[in-house]
């Protein structure tokens, strides 16, 4: 068994946490070769992840922005001899892996939360209201890993790094620009503490209440779909079925009702705190600590108390 793992990139650098978590899952399947679309420096960091036996790096500008057509070509160039093709289930893996799978005439398995056997996996369906165990009948298994289900592999290894080339550049699509939201806060999907705000926050200005609490706690900031749609928070902060999935040690939901689509993205957090003025809000059904209060009183008081 041999696994080709597409390393996760963020802004031209290796996303170490997501990649190292996917390595833990991939190592259960076989010998892991990591593929880095980016600079050598990123490949050298990937080479330190325990469980990675080799790193392939492609520095071609055509794959630098994760364009699906080109990255798919690169993966297929290298796919010979691999039984599994794996990536973390971020938006990059979600974009690319189904394209790879279709060209291998295989059915992709997305958001895998558990490896049962090299051909058998668990994945959530219906916004996590059911967990399916599926066995792949395809010769090559293509799957994305929901990283919250796995601990990050350690670092300290020194795998060899080999440069590979892209066999052909596609002109079907072209990268125009990235509008990256930069912040000094921890990254949402790997943070130990997350403070999320919902529609109850009321406005973009008021969202500072959430950010201030997060900053005091050294936490990442998240949001419900309603908060993003209303323009209180940027799209990359949406937690849920169709946004990011998080499982921090502490998740604080402020002014969020707890729709199933939101719960799908955070109900595996270790400790959940809910602050909501509606005692009947469904978020209280998953909360370890519920505080029925007006957030405009409770959040400043909590920020003060930390």
């Amino acid at each position: 068994m041999a696994v080709l793992l597409l390393a996760e990139m963020a802004g031209g650098a290796l996303a170490l946490d997501a990649t190292a978590k996917a390595v833990t899952a991939a190592a259960k399947l076989g010998d892991v070769t990591a593929l880095v679309c980016g600079p050598k420096s990123a490949a050298e960091i990937a080479a330190t992840i325990e469980g990675v036996s080799k790193v392939l790096v492609c520095e071609d500008a055509a794959v630098a922005h994760g364009l699906a057509e080109n990255v798919t070509r690169l993966i297929l160039d290298q796919a010979q001899g691999f039984t599994h093709i794996v990536a973390p289930a971020g938006n990059s893996g979600r974009n690319i892996l189904p394209r790879v799978a279709a060209l291998l005439d295989a059915m992709v398995m997305t958001d895998v939360t558990e490896v049962i056997a090299p051909d058998t996996f668990k994945r959530p369906i219906y916004a996590g209201n059911a967990i399916q165990t599926v066995q792949s009948l395809d010769p090559v298994k293509v799957l994305s890993i929901r990283t919250t289900g796995f601990d990050a592999a350690g670092t300290g290894a020194a795998a060899p790094v080999e440069t590979v080339a892209l066999s052909a550049v596609s002109d079907l699509s072209a990268h125009v620009e990235d509008k990256v939201v930069s912040s000094d806060r921890p990254e949402l999907t790997s943070a130990k503490v997350v403070v999320s705000g919902g529609r109850g926050i009321g406005s973009e200005e008021n969202f500072a209440l959430v950010s201030s609490l997060a900053d005091k706690l050294g936490a990442a900031v998240g949001a419900s779909r309603a908060a993003v749609d209303s323009g209180f928070a940027s799209n990359d902060l949406q937690v849920g079925q169709t946004g990011k999935v998080v499982a921090p040690d502490l998740y604080i939901a402020v002014g969020i009702s707890g729709a199933i689509q939101h719960l799908a993205g955070m109900k595996d957090s270790k400790v959940i705190v809910a602050i909501n003025k509606d005692v009947d809000a469904p978020i209280f059904q998953v909360a370890d600590y519920g505080l029925v209060a007006d957030l405009f009183d409770a959040v400043p008081a909590l920020t003060e108390a930390v």
Partner: protein, 250 residues
């Protein structure tokens, strides 16, 4: 320019899904079914492109049981011109690879310049069909779109990515998949619902396209997720802080 919009009939997003006690799947008997919410966004986008004079025809297509006609009628009532039902009634969810193979045949017949699919079906949560279709057609893809501008044989698409937004330019024909922020779908008015009854709805079967429906993923079990232990209601911010400190969380 013709636009093809694949739409899926799924459990309504407001329904609380229950796993059958024998572990054979989820209970879909007598629950409300609707058009996949992302597909409403796709239909809306296609209609807007037509209203803007960029598209000339919007064709919607659904693969599944006969009842999928209901959501095709909804799409026609929203403003789509024509519908195709590809009946494929296996009693199970049809996998994205199979759907993509059928859609590729429909594309071969219809020759659209743009396919606008949803990013994800909210039942299987796969997020795969659009990408697979693009692969099978050898077309470019622009997934998770929050803005689409079509001009000069290209689509400029702003995509929702992990770090924020990314804009790509994709040559037509292409496949676009829609994200939540792209638009707010309209409701079908009563007169339009009446008019939609007269719009053409062509019925085909998967066999017409010669696509094998057998699944590649064998479902061994469907279970309830692990539940959470009941929590407590705290009376004040101080009490909350006390609990969090006790657990070493703050």
């Amino acid at each position: 320019m013709k636009i093809l919009v694949p739409v899926k009939r799924v459990i309504d997003y407001n329904v609380k899904v229950r796993v059958k006690s024998d572990g054979s799947g989820v209970d879909l008997a007598n629950v409300k079914m609707s058009m996949n919410p992302f597909d409403e966004i796709s239909v809306e986008q296609a209609i807007r492109l037509k209203e803007a004079g960029i598209a000339t025809e919007v064709v919607v297509v659904s693969v599944g049981e006969k009842k999928a006609q209901e959501i095709l009628r909804t799409a026609l009532a929203m403003g789509a011109d024509r519908a195709i039902l590809v009946e494929a009634d296996t009693g199970d969810d049809i996998e994205p690879l199979t759907v993509a193979k059928i859609l590729a045949k429909v594309v071969a017949d219809e020759a659209p310049e743009l396919v606008i699919a949803g990013k994800q079906a909210i039942d299987n949560d796969m997020n795969a069909t659009g990408q697979m279709l693009a692969a099978l057609l050898g077309w470019g893809q622009a997934t998770f779109a929050s803005q689409v501008d079509v001009a000069d044989g290209k689509a400029s698409v702003t995509r929702e990515v992990d770090g924020g937004l990314q804009t790509v330019s994709v040559k037509l024909p292409a496949v676009i998949t829609t994200d939540l922020r792209l638009n707010e779908p309209r409701y079908a008015s009563l007169p339009n619902i009446m008019k939609a009854k007269k719009k053409p709805l062509e019925e085909k079967t998967a066999a017409d396209y010669g696509v094998d429906l057998s699944p590649r993923l064998k479902v061994l079990a469907t279970e309830e997720p692990a539940g959470r232990a009941a929590g407590i209601v705290v009376g004040s911010v101080d009490e909350l802080m006390g609990k969090l400190k006790e657990q070493g969380l703050v």
